[in-house]
């Protein structure tokens, strides 16, 4: 049939089959393999922000337990507060690079559940259709904010828990870095917590060669805030803004 090769050709640069994985039927190999890591299912990487459904994205934030606040409110189960969808929309609009990864819903299920080696004709036909943002489920995301000239900061790299440790996160970071360096931006920073440090090291990030110290604004309200002070909540931190300075006399 003329259809299959043509469509694969068209999406060739977008479809990823995982660098070291054999191009085999994923679930069958997984069922037979046993101790082997399940091969990466076919995924579609997009850098087009319009491919993202905001509600799906917010759900991905929740399932990855990521809040946009660096010091989020955490409930008794260790879950962070859900991200505000309006602010998320604004943040996306002002992010210079937005990467999203899609996967077919049943591929995702196959990774979590054991699948039987017998596949019906319907399943085979379904697998022949390549994954696209419209028929796929959002399983990975990452974004970067840049001044389009000198610097960039990477934020919110996330992959659905069931598809982690397959190299998708690294693919997202590599794609972001590639886009930024193609725009001549080489000063790329990523804020990370202790548990994210190894991941970013594996992506080629390290300590600042200029030896700078990362600092964040954490001034909090003292016990007796004055009436004219501005106070803002940022997750579980309540930040105190610097007071308005009077123009000082000579």
């Amino acid at each position: 049939m003329a259809v299959a090769p043509a469509t694969v050709q068209r999406f060739a640069d977008k479809l990823k089959w995982g660098a070291s994985r054999k191009r085999s039927n994923g679930p069958i190999a997984a069922a037979a393999g046993g101790a082997r890591k399940p091969p990466l299912p076919p995924i579609f990487i997009s850098t087009n922000p319009s491919h993202i459904n905001l509600h799906e994205l917010r759900d991905l934030y929740s399932s990855s337990n990521i809040s946009c606040h660096r010091f989020p409110n955490v409930d008794a189960d260790g879950r962070v507060e859900p991200v505000d969808i309006h602010k998320l929309r604004i943040a996306l609009r002002h992010s210079s690079v937005v990467v999203s990864v899609f996967c077919r819903p049943y591929d995702n299920d196959d990774c979590t559940a054991k699948s039987s080696p017998m596949m019906g004709l319907g399943d085979i036909l379904q697998r022949a259709i390549p994954v696209t943002p419209s028929n796929g489920q959002l399983v990975g995301f990452g974004r970067a904010v840049s001044d389009q000239g000198l610097t960039a900061s990477i934020y919110d790299i996330m992959v659905m828990p069931s598809l982690r440790r397959m190299g998708i996160g690294r693919m997202i970071v590599k794609r972001i870095v590639r886009i930024l360096t193609s725009r001549d931006i080489f000063d790329i920073a990523a804020l990370c917590a202790e548990n994210e440090r190894l991941f970013f090291q594996a992506c080629g990030f390290g300590d600042d060669i200029l030896g700078s110290t990362t600092m964040m604004y954490t001034r909090m309200v003292s016990s007796y805030p004055a009436s004219d002070q501005m106070v803002k909540c940022a997750g579980r931190r309540v930040l105190l803004a610097p007071s308005l300075r009077q123009p000082f006399a000579s």
């Binding site: 946009c68 002002h94 000198l150 610097t151 920073a189 990030f205 110290t213 990362t214 610097p242």
Partner: protein, 221 residues
Amino acid sequence: MLDICIFVTSVLFFPARRKLKVCQTRASFWESIRSGFLKNNTTQVIEPPSTNQEEEEPLPEEFVLVEKTLADGAIEQIIFSSGGDVDVYDLQALCDKVGWPRRPLSKLSAALKNSYMVATLHSLRKSPGEERNEQKKLIGMARATSDHAFNATIWDVLVDPSYQGQGLGKALVEKTIRALLQRDIGNITLFADSQVVEFYRNLGFEPDPEGIKGMFWHPRY
């Protein structure tokens, strides 16, 4: 899915090359209609055109921070401005004065244009009797990049060495923080050289809070 259906029908029923062209034209036709409706072509987020509320940029401010009378009777004013009106050549001269390495002007210019906020200090010297002869000089700057919602990073804070020690740098940074917090942007970060860590600590910054560190991309050759 629709794309694939059109594609499939085109391949099966029509001479491949000619129909393919029409299909691609049709696809791009709808794309252009859609992008025409959206406010900003480069970031297509599927949602109705945004309201004024969301697009509100920080209102540019300009006021006199310090005013003093000099020995020769001239008046010098130090004017704070957040309008971002910076001459790149003046900025490069200022960077030279503080001893920073030179950066390409086009990149500097792009960085300024795409920063969330650029706060500047200019010195305005008015000689007595020569009201029209005003000397305006850039003496300080601070800029911040942000996603306008959650995160911001303050870069490039600098003050002319001959004006340092007067609290001007402090004023620049405090104003920037205030403007960011006003928009509920709570994650304010910066990467401080060792000699200015104390300066920022006094302004309310904490190094590596809760173990959060910045990592930088190292190119692999």
